[in-house]
């Protein structure tokens, strides 16, 4: 088995895990949203790499007898995912703004301390 056969998955998993680590380890809520976005972009890249065909071209009809096209389906699904992702990002950031107003901080441990104190 050639290790380079799966290089796309290795890179995508690395990026996913970096995003996952930011979500878990950082206390700042904006930083968590950034981590979530890094994770999401990695998932999108994974699907797009799966649709790729060797010596293929973009799935836009071209003249010529033996044109090989890449798979259009993952691309379509990921277009939807990107737009939904920005919608959830907007909602999450709006929540962060409201949390800042109610608690005066966007650090998770400080919010938890305030909750315990009250």
């Amino acid at each position: 088995m050639n290790l380079l056969d799966h290089f796309n998955y290795y890179v995508v998993i690395t990026l996913m895990m970096v995003g996952f680590y930011i979500i878990m380890a950082r206390n700042n809520l904006v930083k968590k949203v950034i981590g979530l976005n890094i994770f999401q972009a990695a998932v999108i890249l994974m699907y797009v790499t799966m649709g790729r065909v060797h010596d293929g071209t973009a799935p836009i009809l071209a003249d010529g007898p033996d044109v090989v096209y890449s798979n259009p389906l993952p691309q379509v699904l990921m277009l939807t995912a990107i737009v939904v992702g920005v919608a959830t990002t907007a909602l999450g950031l709006a929540l962060v703004v409201r949390i800042q107003e109610n608690y005066g901080t966007i650090e998770e441990d400080e919010i938890r301390a305030l909750e315990d104190a009250s």
């Binding site: 050639n2 380079l4 056969d5 799966h6 290089f7 998955y9 290795y10 890179v11 998993i13 990026l15 996913m16 895990m17 970096v18 995003g19 996952f20 680590y21 930011i22 380890a25 950082r26 206390n27 700042n28 904006v30 930083k31 950034i34 981590g35 976005n37 890094i38 972009a41 999108i44 797009v48 649709g51 790729r52 065909v53 060797h54 799935p59 009809l61 096209y69 890449s70 259009p72 389906l73 691309q75 379509v76 990921m78 277009l79 939807t80 990107i82 939904v84 992702g85 920005v86 919608a87 990002t89 907007a90 909602l91 709006a94 962060v96 409201r98 800042q100 107003e101 966007i106 441990d109």
Partner: protein, 179 residues
């Protein structure tokens, strides 16, 4: 793997790791924009110009602007706390190992015989010129074959917009109540 792939992927990993280590949130948001743009560049290499345009406009553009706007309303410095934490690091490494194990029986990159290319994709590629008549097959699938998906997507975006407005309009009334 070509040199272009290797170059872009190295830059992607470097950018993501530097975001994780940054305390200045403005820098982190801008680095996220760079990360998004680099992934758009790699998508272009992967024959998906439509996804690349959307990622560059929506991911690198709108997301970054939203983050910068949030930082303007909150604070741009992260509180000092250790960057490396043992428990999350352990969970991340364990999850990564499981995912790596999962790639063992995946089809190779670019393999034309992979299962993903055998199901509906040939139908879209062969019949959409007659059935839909749009040269861009991604557009044909998005707007026609999977039109309900796109409608659901629009519903999600609408709901999110309503949610954001509901939260931020309530915010504007607060100072007037206090005065």
């Amino acid at each position: 793997m070509t040199y272009v792939d290797a170059f872009l992927l190295t830059l992607l990993v470097i950018t993501a790791v530097s975001v994780a280590g940054m305390r200045n949130l403005f820098a982190a948001a801008v680095f996220f924009g760079i990360y998004s743009l680099l992934s758009a560049a790699w998508m272009t290499v992967l024959d998906s110009p439509d996804v690349a345009y959307t990622e560059a406009a929506v991911g690198a553009g709108i997301s970054t602007v939203l983050m910068l706007a949030t930082l303007g309303l909150t604070s741009d410095r992260e509180k000092k706390d250790p960057i490396l934490k043992p428990l999350p690091l352990f969970i991340v490494l364990a999850t990564g190992m499981v995912l790596l194990y999962g790639t063992l029986d995946m089809p190779a990159f670019g393999d034309p015989m992979a299962p993903i290319h055998q199901h509906v994709a040939p139908h879209y590629l062969n019949d959409s010129p007659q059935e839909i008549g749009v040269p861009n097959i991604v557009t044909a699938v998005l707007a026609s074959y999977r039109g309900y998906d796109t409608m659901g997507e629009t519903t999600v975006v609408f709901t999110a917009a309503v949610g954001v407005l509901a939260m931020l309009i309530g915010r504007r009334q607060r100072p007037s109540e206090a005065s």
